[in-house]
């Protein structure tokens, strides 16, 4: 069971780097969709007993994170001319390096926290923290609205990975609520991105600078 978990987590980490190094939305959205599918699979993998409820939960996660949300992101930028992330605040190579530093820090930090004996040696905590940091990096260094939403999504994925440690504590109702909230949040963000592109004919958040002191 758990032997499958670590390879999946490594894939998740690799996808973080794919997103950090990519300049095109065409690469970023499939990568984040892939990550969503892996998260859904992990829900099943970490359970000691696979029930129909677990499978249903995993199916909901895969559909929402792997299919519906990526489709909404595509939809949001449908009318916008596809362009490169022209001038990110931090270059792509630098982002990759920062991502690597972040992952190293996540590993070190998770060593300082006491881990329950059944989780010792598992990659869950470092992978979760590193994914959260990747999300932060994207949120702060990218100017395109869509990439910022992807950053938020990756941050949420990181939190979700940590949640795998708590499968027993988290009732399905709450887990469903979390997924539903995420879904609606991305939906509303998609609408706003559409409005931004109509209003400014670009999805760069650099134009969003009228409000300041």
């Amino acid at each position: 069971m758990h032997s499958l978990l670590d390879p999946i987590l490594v894939l998740v980490l690799l996808l973080n780097f794919v997103v950090l190094g990519a300049s095109r939305t065409r690469t970023i959205i499939p990568a984040v969709a892939m990550q969503g599918v892996l998260l859904g699979i992990m829900i099943v993998v970490v359970q000691s007993k696979v029930t129909s409820g677990v499978l249903a939960m995993a199916a909901v996660a895969v559909i929402l994170k792997g299919v519906t949300i990526p489709r909404m992101l595509y939809h949001a930028i449908r009318d916008v001319v596809q362009r490169r992330e022209v001038e990110p605040i931090v270059g792509f190579v630098t982002s990759l390096l920062l991502g690597a530093v972040g992952t190293a820090l996540a590993v070190l930090f998770s060593k300082t926290l006491p881990i329950a004996h059944e989780h010792v040696g598992s990659l869950i905590v470092p992978a979760a923290l590193s994914t959260v940091l990747t999300g932060f990096l994207l949120l702060t260094t990218r100017v395109k609205a869509i990439t910022q939403v992807v950053g938020y999504l990756i941050l949420e994925n990181g939190v979700f990975i940590f949640g795998l440690l708590l499968v027993e504590a988290m009732p399905f109702l709450v887990e469903l609520g979390v997924l539903l909230d995420l879904f609606v949040a991305i939906f509303v963000m998609g609408i706003i991105i559409n409005k931004i592109s109509q209003e400014f004919s670009t999805v760069s958040t650099r134009k969003l600078s009228a409000l300041k002191e």
Partner: protein, 477 residues
């Protein structure tokens, strides 16, 4: 019974969403608000038992916060139909439905004793308020909505991580891992300390973002500046109070674990920082709605400072939650009226408001005097109580900074407010033919009356509810 507090406004939201007439639809807002207030009144009298295996429960702290929110919402709801009638060109379906949905979600947060459910409710308030900010459908409100949505959602995601850390701190010690508040308080002594500390910091950052504590406050001036005054009043009084309640719930666990000293230091520091940031940005502020946002940052700082000091100051902070929210209602709604009349919210254009709009202008001035702690307003009593708590604890440096910052705020905010209300009306005063009318000023007058009333006389039931709520926060009277 507790279900009704969530269901009633949700049903009203559905009612508003399906009503076709743009003219009659806003009436759902006061109807829903009144129904919620009635249910809340019955709940205060009967003290209903928990529902959903203890996930939803109405304790004294929840009663205080939700009772206050229900009252504030009702008074703002009375203002809503007349305000929306001023803007017949704007479709208000989403606005009305989201106002009511926001009340339902604030009820959910106040009632939930399950940290996961509370998180779901908190994120839902973010989503329900975002369309309120975008009501004006222009580039500036778009920018404000985007910042609010993104910063708020990221903050909330960190709070979820914090909730997970907290649950893990019990799992780590071999306890049955749980997210139920009462179980966590009971087993707090055994929680793993490193996880507990990390969880508290993440939760303070996460819910602090929703509350608008410095340095996570950056969305606030934009959002409150661009939102209609009505939405601003409900966010500054309602949503921030819910986020504060969430922080108090976690503080309770930390206190029960015997780690109060750790949390208090952080709370006092963040409180003073928020007051300082609010004070600095209020000086020479040209936009009077942004000024109100910085005032909100300052008062959120006062709230967490009071909790950080503890004892008498906790009582003061909980009272301040109520009086600050009511005063913010006065300020945001009267500022909204002034904004309507001048079609501008910059002090360069807006002068002589007290002549142009005698009632709204006077209420704006009265609201300013109350919020800055002038007697006989309610905030005078609550801030004085907090100050007494600070002196009781012999925190003389904190007391000095507290008084210094309050004085700075009084001067900084006063300069802007007086520019707005005094003098002869500027040319911009003729920009619109808006005039004060009863529906738009009576709710503000009621709010102001309540603010003054709480300054001179505290009703017995409120005092005992506040004392019970202090026990909910600190675990002892």
């Amino acid at each position: 019974m507790v279900w009704l507090l969530i269901l009633v406004p949700l049903l009203a939201a559905v009612g508003a969403a399906v009503t076709p007439s743009n003219r009659w639809r806003p009436l759902w807002v006061p109807v829903g608000g009144a129904a919620h207030l009635v249910v809340m009144g019955v709940a205060l009298a009967l003290r209903p038992s928990p529902a959903l295996q203890g996930w939803l429960a109405l304790d004294a702290l929840g009663m205080l916060v939700l009772g206050f929110i229900s009252l504030l919402f009702f008074l703002c709801a009375l203002y809503a139909p007349a305000y929306l009638a001023l803007r017949p060109d704007r479709p208000n379906r989403v606005f009305c439905a989201c106002l009511l949905a926001m009340l339902a979600m604030m009820s959910l947060v106040s009632l939930s004793h399950h940290l996961g459910l509370m998180w779901v409710g908190m994120e839902a308030t973010t989503l329900a308020t975002a369309p309120l900010l975008y009501f004006n459908h222009n580039a500036r409100s778009l920018e404000a909505t985007w910042k609010y949505l993104l910063i708020g959602s990221v903050g909330i995601a960190l709070a979820l991580l914090g909730s997970f850390f907290l649950a893990y701190s019990s799992l780590h010690e071999g306890l049955e891992s749980t997210l139920l508040l009462d179980d966590l308080v009971r087993s707090a002594q055994q929680l793993s300390r490193p996880w507990l500390h990390a969880a508290f910091v993440l939760l303070l950052v996460g819910y602090g973002t929703k509350m608008g504590l410095a340095p996570m406050h950056t969305w606030k001036p934009d959002a409150y500046g661009e939102a209609p005054g009505l939405a601003g009043a409900l966010m500054a009084g309602g949503v921030t109070s819910c986020a504060f309640l969430a922080i108090l719930r976690f503080y309770r666990i930390v206190v029960a674990a015997g780690e109060a000293a750790f949390a208090r230091e952080i709370l006092v520091f963040v409180g003073l920082l928020s007051m300082a940031v609010g004070a600095v940005f209020m000086i020479r502020q040209r936009d009077f709605k942004r000024m109100l946002a910085y005032s909100s940052v300052e008062h959120m700082g006062i709230l967490v400072l009071g909790i950080g000091i503890g004892g008498l100051a906790t009582f003061g902070a909980l009272l301040h939650l109520v009086v600050n929210g009511l005063s913010k209602g006065v300020l945001f709604l009267s500022a909204g009226n002034i904004h309507r009349a001048y079609d501008s919210k910059l002090t360069d254009d807006v002068r002589g408001a007290i002549r142009r709009l005698p009632v709204s202008g006077a209420l704006f001035l009265a609201g300013f005097l109350a919020i800055t702690g002038s007697p006989p307003g309610g905030p005078f009593i609550s801030e004085f109580t907090i100050l007494c708590g600070v002196f009781n604890g012999a925190h003389y440096v904190v007391a000095t900074l507290f008084l210094l910052l309050l004085a700075t705020v009084f001067i900084g905010m006063g300069a802007t407010v007086l520019r707005v209300v005094q003098g002869t009306p500027s040319a911009q005063a003729a920009a619109t033919d808006y005039q004060d009318r009863p529906q738009l000023v009576v709710p503000i007058i009621i709010l102001m009356t309540l603010v003054v009333m709480l300054g001179v006389w505290m009703p017995g039931p409120l005092a005992s509810l506040l004392r019970e709520a202090v026990v909910c926060v600190e675990g002892r009277p």
